[in-house]
Every structure is written in C-alpha cells, then in structure tokens.
Assembly symmetry: C2
Homo-oligomer: 442 residues x 2
C-alpha cells in the first residue's frame, strides 16, 4: 500500500479549493433534503476516493463504524460491531472531511451534509480514544493540520469572546441547566444523583475545600450566573463576596437574583474583567473561567491573585484541563468558545509559581464532567424544539455536537477537570488531613 | 548608604582567598577550643567588618538575633527578642560567611567555628522566611551566589550519590528512625501521634490511595530499607512486589527482613537502578526517590513508568518539592545529598505529560514533614553520644544542622511534600470521590 500513487490527504490544490467550497457551503446551505440533493449533484464514488477514505480510517485506527457515502456506497470500518453510522451526503463534504476533519466535521454536521445515526457520543469518544495515548514528543506530528493557537484574550478580545458564548440568551441556558444555572462540572458523590443535587454538591465541595467561614471576604473571578457567590453567603455565611464577570447577560441575571433573595448587600456583582480586581480578600475563587484566560495571561493572573489575597489568604481554581499541553479542539474554538484553551497542569503551575503560591491539593474530577454533560445533553435534546424555535436547526445541531463531543472528550480521557486549592506559601493553620472535606457526607 | 566605599560582599579578591581558607579550615580543623583559639589568632573586629555584617543582616531583613563575634563584640539584630545567639568564633569563618553564607555556614557550623545557642530550628526558619515570598521573576537575582545546579545523576553518578548518603551504616539510621526504618515524611492524622504510628499511617495512606488489592503486582522504585513493600504484602495482600534500590546496605537489610518474616517469595528486592525496571505491573510506586532523580531524567522516568504499567495501571510518586523551581540548598547538596533536587510541580509534570499519564490527585503534606523531622531531630539528639562514638563530633554537628535545617525548611514553607497519584489516561474504574481514603479513620 505504501507505493500507490493516489493523491495524499494534504495535497494543497485539492485542499484549498475545498476549504473555499466549505466556506461557501457553510454560509449558504440549509438543512438539505439529503437524498434528492445527493442524487442530483454528485456522481458515483470513485476508486481513488474510496482509497483516500480508507487511508483516513487507517489513521484513525479503523474505528468500528458503518459509513454511507453520497451515492449510497456502504463501507464497514473496524472489526467490532459498528458504534454508529456516519453518512456523508455530498462529495464536497467528503473532501472537506479529508482535508481537515477536526475543523470541518463540525460545520458539515451542523449544516446536515454529514449525519451520525446511532450513538453520537460513543462515536466521538471512539475517535478521541485513537489519539488520547499518543506520547507528547509526537505532538509536533499532528494527525491533522487543524490544531492551532486560540485567539488572544486581550481585554477587548475577552469581552468579544465571552459575549459570543455567554450572551446568546439566558432563556436558552435555562432550558437545560439546573436551577442554580451552573454551567460547570457538577460533583456526583454518587453517579445516580440528580443534576440539581450534584450542582449543589459541587458548590459545597468548593466552599468546603476553601474552609469558608463568616469571617471571610471572598473575590470570585468569572461568576457565571452568580450561583456560587449566593451559595457562599447562604450556606457558609461569608461576610461579603465580590464577583467579577464580563458577560452582561449573566451579570444582569445574577444581580436580579441577589436582589430577589435579599442578599444584594452581601453579594456584589461587578461587570468587569478579572484583571481589574482591586482590594484584598481572604479567599480567591474561580470556577470555569481559566479556560477563557489563555496561557499567555497566566502569570498576570498569578499577580492578580497575589495582590488580591491577604497574607493568610487561600484560593481555588476549577478548570477544564488536559494531560499534556495542546490546543482546544479547533472547531470548538472556532464556533463555540473563541479564545478558549484548556491547560495542562504544567501550564496551570505558571499561575502559582510566579508568586510562589503553595499548591495544597489538586483533584481531577474528569468522570464528573462526563456525567454532567450527559445530563445537559439529555435535557438539551428534550428541549430541542424550543431551541429550534429560538434559533434554527443549524444551531441545534451545532450545540448537540458540542455537548456530545464534550461528553466524549471527558469520557475518553481527552479532557480533564482540575480543582486546584492553593494558599500563601507561609500558610500554617491548615488541617493536617483532607478528611474534613469528606465529613458529613461531603 | 548607597555611596559608601566599603568593599562589596562579592569582591573577588576577598572572596576567593576566603574560599580557599575555608577549604583548608574544613579539611584540617578539629572542633576548636573556641575561646583560646580566637584570642590567639584574631584581632579586634574592625569598623569595616561591622559594616559588612550589617549589610548582610539587612539583606536578610534583620532577623531577630544576638550575634557574638570572635572578640566578644555583641550585636543585636532585629526589633523583637532574639530567637538565638549566633557565635562566630574566627575572622576566617566571618569572611566565609560574608562570601557565601548558604554554602559556608554549614561547614563552619560543623567544625564549630560557628555556633548557634538557643533555638536552632527557629533561627534557620527565620532565615528561610526572608526568601520564601520572593517572586519567581526575581529568581535570577539571587541574594547570594551560592545556589548551583546539582551534580548529574547518570547511572554511575547515582550509585555514588546514593552510596554517599544511604550506605553510611544501617546502625546509625536505626538510632533515630522508627521501627519500620521509614526515612521519608510520615502521615500525622493528628499531630500528637507517635512517629511509629505516623509512619504506619503513611504506608497505609500510600496503599489506600493506590487502592491495592491481592490481584496486584507492584513495582517500587527506590525502596529504602524495604518497609513499604512488606507493608503492601502484609496489610493489603498484594500478590508480588519487586522493589528496586541501588543502596547495597539498604537492600541487604531489606532482604534479611523479608526472609525473617517469611515473605521473601512475595517481595523481591532488586539491587539495580530504576532505569532498568523490566516487565509490567499494575501499580508503580516511588516514595522519596524522585529527589535523587534529577530534572534532566524526568522524561525518561515517565518512559519507564509508561513501559512498566499495564493498560489499566496506576501509580504514586511521593517527593519533596518546592513552590517554584530552584536548586537544593547548596550545602545540603554538597555535604549531605549529592545530586539531589526537590522539584516544583511544573517540573514534576514532565514525568506525567511525556506519556500523557493522567494526574488524579496531588496532596501537599508539608506540615507532616516538619513534624516528622522534629521527631527525628529529637531522637537524634537523644543518641548523639552514640553517634559521636560511631563517627565524630563534626558528623554529629553536620547531621544536627541538616535535620534542623530541613525541619526549618518545611516549617517556613521553603520546601513542600507532594504525593501525586496518577493513572493511564483511559482509567475508567476509579471511584468518583476521594472519600474512600478517609473511611475507617484513614
């Protein structure tokens, strides 16, 4: 097979033409009436195309799949029973897939030129599993050229990136998040817990780790819809929380809620960037913001934490992460989370080592995020007609793929969830063991 | 003060001469009969010498000390009551201290040309406290020129380095270690536990974290006197342990013990380097070896772990560490632990990220090592006459300083103790929470 003369996958003349075709297709196509469309525009699959597809499947270690191409050609990949059926409805989508599957699969799935029938999460997890064990030294030799540096999170860039994702409408997120509007990994002390209970447990877990008391003033960087800040006051009686966020929709929602609960005097939501945090606090907490900070800003974040903490202060950062450095999935970075980057621990340590903050405890909650996403995806599917009514079918498919792909990434071990507890280097009144976290069913 | 023309601390003509003097003094001097000696050889303290000393004290943020110089000049440093009295008995020791306090203090303390009366640990902790909060970006601008890269741990280098420290005599270590001969940080679930109980608790803590069962084959890298390997078989019933160590004295001792306990068929002590580990195991464990590996070998260690673990394998590394990268205290590296380096977490991650091992849990046990060292130092002092009989007074003073300095380093936050639990990236049968570690009083 090594000496056949079929065009290689990255032959630029094919690829570039198809990238442009992809762009046009994405901008113009509606959910296609697939069968009529494919019959009209695309001729039979050629031998060379089939050979290219087989090359791609080999690169992916022959995942157990049934493939159906635009002329109804069927191909069985792998030895075990197929997890799902992948339907490629057009030749254009086929070449886009060959050219850069990581980036183009998502757009063609969203437009409907590609369909997955059967277990979408299992299908995506099987693809992740083929790369999850690749050694770091081979990181330069990427399977596909799609990976790239995320967009920079300058003050202005961050505002745009956060607006892109978090300001698309509180009503949309309310359809499938829990009552507390927690859009971060929950904590399933037991896999059968409800999402509501597991999100409450996450809030407790964070507050317990920080050993919050009524004597504490807390600053929160990236507060979402404000649930953690309220939880700290309600259940741990902390004196005051200042919670920063640059999403206007979220801050509006959070302020309204604090007012309704009569807690507006103790929880202040500040519509501003974490880099502008002022004053000193007993605890710094950030749940699900680090993914949007960008490695280039980690040392500055360390400085912000340093100047914001009292001499005996401590903090917690909860973030999606990776087992080794690498970029965010390029389609997610492009369509869902501009500027996002899930760090490896080696990258996260820049935050702490800059100012010699002492890491007390790191917990990897990876399986919890797979369960959380499973709940979100289920609720999202149950609300898909409403979502379609608010946006359109492309949006539904895009978000389905994003949620399913995220579940697959956590399930397969492609992504991790790190909670890092830290303190000033001289901290001396901390308990000797972590047993306190687990008392009373914690 | 900036424009005075007193010689600077690092004027090479003074410094180099004194380094040579120091070397001669260290090689030739016996514990001096201090007062007669100082009277005979050293004239009165000069104004310029006093000014140099004041500069040094300022660099150290004026620690609360009483200083007594060779002509009985007394100086009070700092505002609070003095922690201890530092006696500098000779002018030569004084200049060695000015030239490179980090490296020369230890040798002059060992020879008796420098004495500390009062709280030695408190004195050393106060010195550490002056540097513990310095930001990382200033790491290049060291207070003193003493820090330097540790010696390399090639296969041969490691043998020499380990021989230097661990082969000085089992009888010596038996005087002040616990019954299990644990020469690593114990686990004090409660600060009042005996050292014996806390070392047992440490062995349990490590085995619990790894979730060892009778189905497991375990490999241990750097097994000391063999206590952990025996504990795994005795209390967790593991099928087999192969424990590697390059200290001949330790391996001899460990083999003898396994034979006495009738466990020689299940615990195999191998006199070989961790780099020569072969076969596959369900768990990899290393307690207190990483300090001797050297950062330059971390990626290779990651490869060793990768090739030694079954597809569902997991592991634990327990090591002294730091809040940011930096070298071992130069006197310790020179006289006590050649080649040693306590890594920052950013350095440790090289081991795991090389092969995308997934970090599940990091626990910082810093305060436990301060308590452990407190016990060791107490037992050591109780046995000092025996130690003097086995070696000499210089050896007693050297080891006192090493143990006291280590306690001070952990107490002040200069050093950390990291336990890192990790697994293959695809591990899927791990408990959702860490509560299991803390059940039944664990």
């Amino acid at each position: 097979m090594k000496n056949h003369h079929a065009p290689t996958l990255d032959a630029p003349e094919i690829g570039e033409a198809n990238i442009e075709m992809a762009a046009v297709a994405v901008q113009t196509s509606n959910p296609p009436a697939a069968s009529t469309r494919s019959e009209a525009r695309d001729s039979k699959v050629l031998a060379v195309e089939r050979s290219l597809l087989e090359q791609l499947l080999r690169k992916l270690a022959d995942p157990p799949l049934r493939l159906v191409l635009w002329d109804d050609t069927e191909i069985l990949s792998g030895d075990s029973p197929p997890i799902a059926t992948l339907i490629v409805r057009t030749r254009a989508a086929f070449f886009r897939l060959l050219w850069d599957p990581n980036r183009n699969f998502g757009d063609d799935y969203a437009s409907g030129e590609i369909e997955v029938e059967g277990d979408l999460v299992g299908f995506l997890a099987a693809l992740y599993a083929t790369t999850v064990d690749v050694p770091y030294s081979a990181a330069g030799l990427r399977l596909f050229p799609g990976e790239r540096r995320p967009r920079r999170n300058t003050l202005k860039g961050s505002r745009e990136h956060i607006h892109h994702h978090y300001d698309i409408g509180n009503a949309f997120y309310q359809l499938w998040l829990d009552e507390e509007m927690q859009y971060t990994c929950a904590y399933f002390a037991d896999a059968g817990m409800t999402l509501e209970a597991a999100q409450q447990a996450k809030l407790d877990h964070v507050c317990r780790k920080l050993r919050l008391t009524p004597a504490d003033n807390v600053v929160e960087a990236g507060c979402g819809w404000g649930g953690l800040a309220l939880h700290m006051v309600r259940h741990f009686g902390v004196a005051k929380v200042r919670a920063f966020n640059i999403s206007e929709e979220q801050v509006k929602y959070a302020r309204e809620r604090a007012k309704q609960e009569g807690l507006a005097d103790r929880v202040e939501y500040v519509l501003d960037d974490y880099r502008n945090i002022s004053d000193r606090y007993d605890a710094f907490v950030s749940v699900g913001m680090l993914e949007h900070v960008g490695v280039e800003n980690y040392r500055d974040l360390g400085e912000v934490i340093h100047r914001s903490l009292t001499p005996t202060g401590r903090g917690l950062i909860h973030s999606i992460g990776r087992n080794r450095p690498g970029y965010m999935h390029p389609w997610i970075e492009r369509r869902i989370f501009p500027g996002a980057h899930p760090p490896a621990l080696s990258e996260m340590t820049q935050i702490f080592e800059t100012r010699r903050l002492s890491v007390l405890d790191v917990e990897n909650l990876r399986p919890h995020y797979a369960i959380t996403l499973h709940h979100w995806l289920e609720r999202f599917e149950a609300s898909r007609d409403q979502v379609r009514g608010m946006y359109d079918e492309r949006f539904v498919r895009m978000w389905r793929l994003y949620l399913a792909g995220s579940e697959a990434a956590f399930r397969s071990g492609e992504l991790q969830l790190f909670q890092v507890l830290f303190a000033r280097p001289t901290v001396s009144d901390w308990p000797l063991t972590r047993a306190w976290i687990y008392r009373d069913g914690g």
